[in-house]
Symmetry: C2
Subunit: 146 residues, 2 copies
């Protein structure tokens, strides 16, 4: 029941892009340095985000990436699903899963359904914009305390 590094890193990448958005392109190299993640591995992760249309890429020198929409348009759930695949806690609940023959007598399935709902409810209700705001508030609080 762990979220993989891929998923966790992807969320951090999206947050990094939102926090460092100046209108300019942001290079993988810079994200990798800030987030302390291998450049090469990040390349793969951001490629998935790009394929999903979450970021726009600009090739060549001075190229890089930018969020394709404003941060409030991306939920943590969207990002995790793109990088991790389904967030359902059992295969029976994956999209396109064929019903197993125990389904109708399977008392546990209902529990997994509740669990899936609870998980979705959290990750689909936090956006990258929320994380940006929390970060800002945290920094403000820090300022006052000095």
């Amino acid at each position: 029941m762990k979220i993989s590094t891929k998923g966790r890193y992807a969320v951090r990448v999206m947050l990094d892009l939102a926090l460092n958005n100046t209108g300019e392109c942001i290079k993988v190299k810079d994200i990798a340095a800030r987030q302390d993640i291998s450049e090469k591995y990040l390349e793969q992760i951001i490629a998935a985000l790009s394929r999903a249309g979450f970021v726009n890429s600009v090739r060549g020198a001075q190229g890089g990436y930018r969020l394709s929409k404003a941060p409030e348009n991306y939920t943590v759930g969207m990002i995790l699903r793109v990088t991790e695949g389904s967030l359902a806690p059992v295969a029976c609940l994956d999209e396109g899963a064929e019903a197993c023959e125990r389904c109708d007598t399977c008392e546990t399935l209902e529990v997994w359904r509740e669990l899936a709902r609870a998980i979705d409810n959290v990750v689909d209700n936090v956006t990258i914009a929320d994380l940006v705001n929390r970060r800002k508030k945290r920094l403000e609080a820090l300022d006052y305390s000095i």
Copy 2:
């Protein structure tokens, strides 16, 4: 983010023990047959439940297993934690995890905390007794429809 077979099977085993409780010992062989799980694999799973004190074992011929307490004393969460280990979605939140150095600026950690709470809230609020009752209701509904 999947629950392993071990955890899922463990819940089914506990439910099976609750449903088939006649006061007599229940043999692994019978559970395996009813649940359609390999006997040898089940042995390992039930051994974990036994070590945790969830079931009592009786060795020798006519031996087997029994729930050590009434079904309402076992939550799905307890069972999953015994067989799966921590249900926390990231290692940072595992019991006894040392704080990583990014913790204080890690906006995502708070999301994982919410997620952990949501997961716990589901699995810690469903007991084996609940599953037994749901099964009974389902069977009754079936009876009436005939």
